[in-house]
Subunit: 145 residues, 2 copies
């Protein structure tokens, strides 16, 4: 079994596990109605200021139609505010509500704690190698895209 195969299998599994964990982390007691997709949308909106639909959709790489549906749900649940721009009445501005901010920060804390816990179990050398590999992976993806 060479490192190539090991890496491949491990990456595939890791990817699946992280997704599962993310899903569970998002759905805590306080935020039962929040999905991992909801959180991604909220991350794209960002913690401060308002953004328009098109820019958030582009960031998430979905159509504005798709984003409309996600935002409908987030507005209904009270995580996101939606208003029409006064300068350009075509534009819809979305931002995190107070409840949305709290959920966002809560999730960010989870992320930070997870990363910390992961890194604590690695040696310096392993941390460096991991970081390098991830950067290379990112670069590979950008080239292929």
């Amino acid at each position: 079994m060479n490192i190539n195969n090991t890496l491949n299998e491990v990456l595939v599994r890791l990817f699946r596990d992280i997704n599962t964990l993310e899903e569970r982390a998002v759905r805590t007691e306080e935020y039962q109605d929040m999905t991992s997709n909801d959180m991604h949308v909220m991350e794209a909106i960002g913690p401060e200021g308002a953004k328009n639909m098109t820019s958030v959709a582009r960031e998430l790489e979905v159509t504005t139609g798709t984003l409309t549906i996600s935002v409908n749900s987030l507005v209904k649940k009270g995580y996101v505010n939606r208003t029409r721009s006064e300068e350009d009445r075509r534009v819809v501005l979305i931002s995190l509500s107070e409840k949305g901010q709290k959920a966002y920060l809560h999730h960010r804390k989870f992320h930070e704690e997870m990363i910390e816990a992961v890194l604590k179990g690695l040696t310096e050398e392993e941390q460096g190698a991991l970081e390098n590999a991830l950067l290379k992976l990112t670069r590979f993806f950008r080239e292929v895209s």
Copy 2:
């Protein structure tokens, strides 16, 4: 530079793009009708021999009902063969068809190229450290799950 921040950012970006990329890699000229989900199922079935529904579903961490639907589609597209076991008539055996084998190998090549691009530029020591780091990560997520 803080590896904690780097890791967080890199992971977030990676996870946002990785599905899209995989989707594109899978859907080549020869395999227009293949989705990334299809490929995951085929990977779980594996290139040789037949497996029953339950074991593949467990591997993929989905219900057998979900797998039934995936396999329906794969059979219809001609990537997977489905037969009933003679020893135990309850059991359904699934395996890759010839077309499925080809698609599977094609996709594996893409993965291998990706891994190669990642490993290229890492020293032997870094590669070993990376492997260790990933194995530890796997263990970490298994424990947390």
